[in-house]
């Protein structure tokens, strides 16, 4: 006889696999404590700000120590590092200067960004009150708060940034090009503008091409291999081009001359083992001793 029971059993089985499961019960509940360590975002209305405070005055000292090497004492930006201040009323100019003061719509973004990503060489190393203080100081550099100001979790959301109304949500497509196929324009209107020659790396496809490096910063006549130069740029430049943590600047002849008095072996040794603000191998323990020594030679060559 036909076994109805069996058929119903099959039907049930089919249903439970085919029905799209709302929940797979994978993963574990995330406790508040676990979340708290990673939940670092801050919103314009102040949601997410931890309790704390910091003054412009405290911020100045911290900024000079941890930020000024790259961003300049007044936020003007050393070399090609980002500017943090200035540029008011330049957004319509030929060369707009987009800074915290001239462009950023909310002060919360500054707090959030410094806290999550700065200083560049040591992200998420600042204590909460230090972030308040440095944020206050960067706002002060932009003349948005006075020298007596103390920033706290309660007043941050009340700070009005000059460009807060400067943004609107993307309204593209904003251009309509009709799909013309024939005689689409007056040939007389065609003007050909050529590429600026010599600033793009082209030596990989042109006999007379260049590597595009000369245009960057000239390091003419060095004997280091490209590998050494590249590793310097990835592992050492951040401190040694900027003088961060009082690192001797590459190219500063006097600073290196003093150090050379101790002899080259001692210099190598300090680079390998670390000394004061200089981490062993610049923090890149994956580098071979040979590589580090070659980089030191390169740095010395640029500093003689």
């Amino acid at each position: 006889m036909f076994n109805w029971r069996k058929v119903t059993g099959w039907l049930l089985l089919v249903l439970s696999t085919a029905a799209i499961a709302e929940q797979y019960n994978l993963g574990k509940p995330a406790s508040e404590k676990v979340i708290a360590g990673w939940d670092i975002d801050v919103r314009p209305d102040g949601l997410g700000l931890p309790k704390g405070s910091g003054s412009v005055e405290e911020g100045e000292a911290l900024y000079d120590q941890k930020c000024a090497n790259c961003h300049g004492s007044f936020g003007e930006g050393e070399g090609r590092w980002p500017k943090l201040a200035g540029g008011e009323d330049t957004l319509r100019d030929e060369r707009p200067e987009k800074t915290v003061g001239s462009y950023w719509p909310y002060a919360s973004t500054l707090w959030d960004y410094i806290h999550r990503a700065m200083p560049f060489n040591a992200p998420q190393s600042l204590a909460t009150d230090e972030v308040y203080a440095i944020t206050a100081y960067v706002l002060n550099l932009n003349e948005l708060v006075d020298g007596e100001f103390v920033l706290t979790q309660d007043n941050l959301a009340t700070i009005e940034m000059p460009n807060k109304n400067g943004f609107y949500v993307d309204n593209r497509p904003d251009v309509a090009n009709p799909r013309c196929m024939k005689n689409c324009k007056d040939p007389e209107s065609i003007k050909v503008i050529a590429t600026i020659a010599g600033i793009t790396p082209t030596d990989h496809f042109k006999h007379d091409g260049n590597d595009g490096v000369a245009y960057q910063e000239s390091a003419v006549g060095v004997t280091a291999t490209p590998e050494v130069v590249k590793t310097y740029q990835n592992a050492c430049k951040m401190c040694h081009d900027t003088g961060l943590n009082d690192a001797p600047k590459t190219g500063d002849v006097a600073a290196w001359q003093k150090r050379l008095n101790q002899g080259k072996p001692a210099i190598y040794n300090n680079a390998l083992k670390g000394i004061n603000g200089m981490p062993a191998k610049g923090g890149r323990t994956d580098l071979s001793d040979e590589m580090v020594k070659s980089i030191v030679d390169y740095m010395l060559e640029l500093s003689e």
Partner: protein
């Protein structure tokens, strides 16, 4: 200075006459004399094929490699390209950024065929270098306006139903160096901030269902585990639509440069929203206005205001061959003109090609797969008579949007918006076969 030699001018004239037979104007010659701004020199040394006559590896001789045994299996446990392909590499323009740790490198589009970008050639963009993450110690947390805050291991994530989709990823700054004028002498630099991979992972909607988004949940903050803790706000509509939480690319685990072990992919949207090294997703009721959606990745307009949350990568295309890196080396004769088109709004519907700087256009066939939000190939054959050309491609997507001219874009957005330059691109093909990046004013 003369762009074109007088013979070149004559040849260009001939091309234009041929291409624009139906033009109703009389002074074509006059046009040519005046229309082309004569500037710069066209001198270009091409890598010509060297004469190999008498080479012992060419027929009728038996080549060296035939007369001996090659390497056995597992000589390269992870295979590498031929040593003769050592110029197929990512490159950068060194002066673009202050430091290699927050910088960009570009994909060598001229060296690639088809639509898939090999994993080692996918363009790179980081804000704090590539972190080295142990996958066993990596976690993804979903919290905020959800019923069940959850924490996942990589093993957990691999148990969910997975999807695999081929999607392009493009940096919104692709081509952005050229808003004000042509600067880059190579395709790799004008268009190389794009890649296209098969991405595998779990739909974000699946994970959000697992956590149970509360009705007030309208935005999602995605955050990376890198030193930049790169973070972007993403509207819930996108998150529930086609966003993928990805752990594999082109069949293998993500590369560290692309977010190993876990990243987001927001198909069709600017690359920086596809957060790499993904560690956290928070559901909220408003966007967060992170640095990467205020200070950066906003488009400054001529009136001094800026477009924000400009997510979509609009329809775009470029001819990849010929290009500055792939000139017409062999003199007159047949060549394949090939290129790539893509749109963040869906499929490519058509691509048109112009040989005369956009006076006349003809439709070029699409080839291979034509998928949504995916690189699409187009190609056509030409019998090149050695005439100079102003070569362009213009893509149309399934919404009917037609790729605009640079003039149209500039008229609308000025020259300071940095991002989202999807204008029709022009290559000038010279009589000697060399190719130069130019703009038409």
């Amino acid at each position: 200075m003369n762009w074109f030699s007088s013979t070149e001018q004559q040849q260009l004239l001939k091309t234009l006459e041929r291409e624009s037979e139906k033009l109703h104007f009389t002074e074509r010659r006059h046009f040519l004399k005046n229309a082309l701004v004569m500037a710069g020199s066209g001198a270009l040394a091409l890598h010509g094929g060297q004469a190999l006559a008498g080479n012992q590896n060419l027929p009728p001789n038996v080549p060296q490699w035939t007369g001996k045994l090659g390497d056995g299996v597992l000589t390269n446990p992870y295979g590498q390209p031929s040593k003769y392909e050592n110029q197929t590499i990512r490159r950068t323009v060194p002066w673009l950024t202050a430091d290699a740790i927050s910088s960009i490198s570009m994909t060598p589009l001229h060296s690639l065929k088809g639509i898939i970008t090999p994993n080692g050639l996918v363009f790179e963009r980081y804000h704090a270098g590539v972190p080295t993450i142990n996958p066993d110690e990596h976690r993804l947390i979903i919290h905020g306006l959800v019923d069940r805050p959850l924490i996942f291991t990589m093993d957990d994530l691999r148990r969910f139903p997975s999807v695999s989709e081929i999607k392009f990823l493009e940096c919104p700054a692709n081509g952005g160096m050229e808003w004000k004028g042509p600067q880059m002498e190579a395709l790799q630099f004008t268009h190389g901030m794009i890649s296209c991979c098969e991405w595998s992972g779990v739909r974000l909607s699946t994970l959000l269902d697992e956590a149970g988004v509360k009705p007030q949940g309208k935005w999602i903050l995605a955050e990376g585990a890198d030193g930049a803790a790169m973070a972007r706000s993403i509207p819930i509509e996108k998150a529930l639509d086609d966003t993928i939480v990805v752990y594999a690319q082109n069949g293998e685990a993500l590369r560290p440069e692309q977010g190993y072990p876990l990243r987001l992919v927001n198909p069709g949207w600017e690359g920086n929203t596809s957060i790499k090294w993904l560690r956290r997703l928070e559901v909220g009721d408003k966007p967060w206005h992170m640095r990467e959606e205020t200070s950066k990745y906003t488009d400054l307009m001529p009136d001094g205001r800026a477009q924000q949350f400009s997510f979509v990568q609009e329809c775009n295309s470029v001819i990849t061959s010929p290009s500055p890196e792939l000139p017409f080396k062999g003199g007159k004769g047949w060549y394949e003109i090939e290129g790539l088109a893509w749109s963040g709004r869906g499929k490519i519907k058509a691509v048109d090609i112009s040989f005369d700087g956009g006076i006349n256009w003809q439709q070029a066939p699409l080839k291979g797969l034509v998928l949504s939000k995916c690189l699409t190939r187009f190609s056509t054959m030409i019998n090149w008579h050695g005439d100079p050309m102003l070569l362009q491609s213009r893509a149309v997507d399934e919404t009917g949007y037609v790729q605009p001219t640079l003039k149209q874009l500039r008229a609308q957005r000025g020259g300071n918006s940095i991002y989202h330059k999807n204008a029709i691109h022009t290559w000038k093909v010279n009589a000697n076969g060399s190719v130069q990046n130019v703009q038409l004013a």
